[in-house]
Amino acid sequence: MDGDPAGRGVRVAGGGAARCRGRRGRGGAPVTATAPASGGPRIGVITFPGTLDDVDAARAVRYAGAEPVSLWHADADLRGVDAVVVPGGFSYGDYLRAGAIAAQAPVMRSVIDAARGGLPVLGICNGFQVLCEAGLLPGALVRNSGLKFVCRDQWLRVENTSSPWTTRYEPGAEILVPLKNAEGRYVADRSVLDELEGEGRVLFRYIGGGTADGPVPDTGNPNGALRDIAGICSADGRVAALMPHPEHAIDPLTGPTDDGLGIFLSVLDGLGVAA
């Protein structure tokens, strides 16, 4: 299933968002950032004390062709952005529980309000934890079943390609992006899990660790997440989150693939239509 299928308005940037497995993660020139036209979409990236992957999220936004706008945890003003990324890291040191203290920050109160009004929000890793702690997404992320921090390249299946954050992927697409966390095990009540499944709100599922050549057998679920869930979304699909890091897979130079770019391109497609 190599190659970009035609006819779906795929915007190609830096080799394009992978819809498929099999791109080998080596070589290739770095994608030159396309300067967004002024007045184009603006995507906010939140920085809490202890946030780490905000620079990466901002870079991914830029690669996708939008303007990253940095948002400060203590400032409730969302600066008129068209979408928000809650990036990875260890906000407040992950002390108490990952994401727990950040979820109460002034900026999150605004994000919660805006999300209820339909603002697209993406949580990555620590951002997923923050969104759960903030009540925007159900369930919780707890200590990895192996008790250790895990950093590896992770294969995921895109389970739902109609959410605003996943339209660029083909149904059933398998993508390879880095995973790195210590508390990434998704848990929720059975009824919640059933609801998520029933409503197509499981966005990504773990397939296995591996290389660009494919998943290595028996490496499936990296942290014991229930039902292999790697990412979910809200009922309207606009709030989405995943533990793996698509922003680290935007350029084969610095990541295993550029498969992660599709997430950022997807939301821009939606904004473009709206704009």
Partner: protein, 116 residues
């Protein structure tokens, strides 16, 4: 001198209470740490230990403005995540406002002050 880890040196007149909050992961959720400890105990010859769950323990010092309802709220909204955890709040002995007395076995003033 302002004491660290303390909002302020409590008014010497006011009463300071010690509160313990214990938070444990709900039983239906995997506790890999407890499991690992149980296995280690087995290897170490302590086979009489049948089950282990690991949770968190918080020692709080609160002034009299903090009611039981406040404590429940603090525990239920911040210290514990109700989705995955349960908690108990226990008020311990009322202690005087002297920092030295606030921690068990805090013999010298040095120890009690280190609440950071």
């Amino acid at each position: 001198m302002e004491l660290p880890g303390r909002r302020s040196t409590p008014n010497r007149e006011s009463r300071v209470a010690r509160v313990a909050v214990d938070v444990v992961i709900k039983p239906e959720i995997l506790d890999p740490q407890g499991k690992a400890i149980l296995a280690a105990l087995g290897r170490g010859g302590h086979s009489g230990v049948l089950a282990v769950r690991q949770g968190k323990h918080f020692d709080l010092e609160v002034d009299e403005s903090v009611s039981d309802e406040d404590l429940e709220e603090i525990a239920g909204t911040l210290l514990a995540n109700p989705v995955i955890e349960t908690w108990t709040v226990t008020r311990l002995d009322e202690v005087s406002a002297s920092p030295a007395a606030a921690l068990p076995g805090a013999a010298a003033g040095e120890d009690a002050a280190v609440l950071r």
